[in-house]
Symmetry: C2
Subunit: 401 residues, 2 copies
């Protein structure tokens, strides 16, 4: 297919290149179809989630200057479905005159947790107390102020697929330090639940904030999202949205910014993590909001006006489908769709592995317990083939309603 030729014959169609071909790129591809733009993905291998569906897939290594520059050559803007492109490669793209959103500087705050914590502190944004540590003595000194456990976090990356360790005592901290990677110590926050804010910001400064949601986690993985977060006052919700919009401005984020928050017992909100891309806590927006997070991200990086983030129903619940032992997800779709005609299922086309996110289910309605039960039952059936509802992690408000 001669790409250039078809571009010319169909008027101007900007090309958005997304580095990464996971489910976030896959769902962004669906949003790109409606906008009438061209969408290109950089996949690590053929057959990846987004490569299965996108007409324009380039296979290459996101850590290679050459592959990235070749990929970017025909693109009007480069964006990302993950935050793993190293800074030198991001800078090389920018120095080559490519439009990169979010910018290397902004993405840096998702890649260096110490820089992120320091910047947020400068900005007066409430965070858990933290301190860079290089020795066990540093950790012990930190623990004198916060008590144990102490959370150790890799400044960048991690090992054994993890970057966060809750250390109950000095011996556990010593084990983490023995791996000799840069870490910071963080206060262990006995939070009531986790909330998330999702905002978008465009180069012209236009911003839009989705309703604040509750992110229900199990073993550190987001398994359910309740939109809007139950039991949040209108005032607190607006304050949280404002925090998201201000952070996007202050960190100069173009595209989406997801802010993961701890809500403490006294209602204080502390920033836990940042992500600058479509986010698991925003999947409900595909059917639950006037503008999906995927379309919103494209509109932002293209400097198109942002769309309404308003909900289309009073309540939306998203439940992740975590892989079980049965590789055949599609075979279970029949049962799930028959049981609930209003349910929306997204399958990612990824090989099933235990615990891996292979899809999600969204239910809309007006009564949170009912809507939540519908979504969780369906996701659980897709994962396990069992009719039993998944055990719901206890949460402060979402779990009790």
């Amino acid at each position: 297919m001669n790409h250039q030729q078809t571009l010319e014959s169909s008027g101007r169609q900007p090309v958005v290149g997304m580095v990464g071909a996971g489910q976030l790129a896959r769902m962004t591809a669906a949003a790109a179809i409606g906008l009438g733009i061209r969408f290109r993905v950089l996949a690590g291998a053929p057959g990846e989630s987004a490569a299965q569906v996108a007409a324009d897939t380039v296979v290459g290594d996101y850590r290679s200057d050459g592959d990235l520059l070749a990929f970017a050559a025909g693109c009007d803007v480069i964006t990302f479905d993950h935050e793993h492109v190293p800074q030198p490669q991001l800078r090389a793209l920018e120095q080559a005159g490519r439009v990169v959103w979010p910018s290397a500087a902004a993405l840096g705050f998702t890649q260096d947790k110490l820089a992120m914590r320091e910047r947020l502190t400068e900005l007066g944004v409430p965070c858990p107390r933290f301190e860079p540590v290089t020795s066990l003595a540093d950790v012990a000194a930190f623990a004198e102020h916060t008590g144990w456990p102490v959370v150790l976090k890799a400044v960048s990356g991690g090992y054994d697929g993890r970057g966060v360790w809750v250390c109950g005592d000095s011996a556990a901290a010593a084990e983490v330090l023995s791996h000799r990677l840069p870490v910071l110590a963080e206060e262990y926050v006995p939070f009531e639940r986790e909330l998330a804010i999702l905002v978008a910001r465009s180069p012209s400064g236009h911003g839009a904030a989705y309703p604040v949601v509750e992110s229900v986690q199990r073993d550190g993985i987001c398994v359910q999202v309740l939109a809007p977060a139950p039991g949040v006052s209108a005032e607190a919700a607006v304050q949280a949205q404002r925090l998201g919009l201000e952070l996007a401005r202050d960190l100069d984020v173009i595209g989406l910014l997801a802010v993961e928050l701890f809500e403490t017992r006294n209602g204080e909100l502390l920033v836990n993590e940042l992500a600058m891309r479509p986010h698991n806590t925003g999947h409900w927006t595909i059917e639950g909001a006037r503008t999906s997070q995927f379309e919103q991200h494209l509109r932002a990086v293209l400097n198109l006006p942002l769309g309404s983030p308003a909900m289309v129903a009073p309540v939306a619940v998203m439940a992740n489908v975590l892989g079980g032992t049965d590789p055949d997800l599609y075979g279970k779709l029949n049962h799930v769709l028959a049981a609930d005609t209003g349910l929306k299922v997204q399958l990612y086309g990824k090989p099933v592995r235990p615990g891996r996110k292979v899809g999600h289910v969204t239910a809309l309605g007006s009564d949170l317990p009912t809507v939540r039960d519908r979504a969780v039952r369906a996701a659980n059936y897709l994962a396990t083939g069992s009719e039993e509802p998944a055990a719901q992690p206890a949460t402060a408000l979402g779990g009790r309603q």
Copy 2:
């Protein structure tokens, strides 16, 4: 990319092959992404609307047995974005053991207007009076019962891109007959407005009907769709939906069936045309219904349970973007999206030609005149670059509200 390989590694993913790569296939491709299935299109040429976005595009001729059979080889089910595949080719696919939905027999009723009228009459479905005609004497005899004008319709196809001629007198009828193609004469119905019913039916017999809509036409082209059709009583709406579901059953349609209706002055509904595929009068369902017509068609042909056709807002209006003289649609998107953050635009990636459908706009809300004005203004701006609202064709109810 090795297609078979990726299929095996991701569990069972059925492959739906759609013959035709226009905007209907393009929007179906977006729906296929969420269902986690594989979607393949047969395009006449690279760069066609759906070929721009679908990962799996085969270029071939839908009139060629060989091309169709080769295309169908890796597909679990074959379906269509148009009704132009000739009967012998459809039968060849079926005889080769391919699953073809809708079937050759069902599609025949969209390809042979005389067979359609005769079958509908057998079924007792109200239609305009009709008669096959082969001579001017036949037409004159028909006009003695119905009066002039008489509508002549090509039984199949047509000439000069048309298949319907409203003949004011015998001379006009003679001109049509001089082209020597099989025609039928139809009573000219001075209808008040046009309505449409869209239903889906699956091989297991499950059916679903969308709300009855009004289709506003200009020069024989659908330019606006109002959902639900204003001024239709709940009783009449249910009756129309039942007509659609019964027709789908009686004609053994699998997939979508769109029924275009004339509403006469006394409220009678007469069947004008049938289509067995996603339909222009169903585009509003992408954002306006729980399940879009494109997802519904895929679910039907895959024999998955059908999704809820319920609306997500009290009113939805779709306005088609008809090509003007400016080939740059994308350049006008900025203005349209800035003016109305709740608006949804679908651009088809097709070269702009005057009068050609190159996109559509959908607005949702609760007040029909407001929602309609939003959609029509935006579509008009995309078409013409002008702020003036498009002249609205007068309709019985939609136009007056």
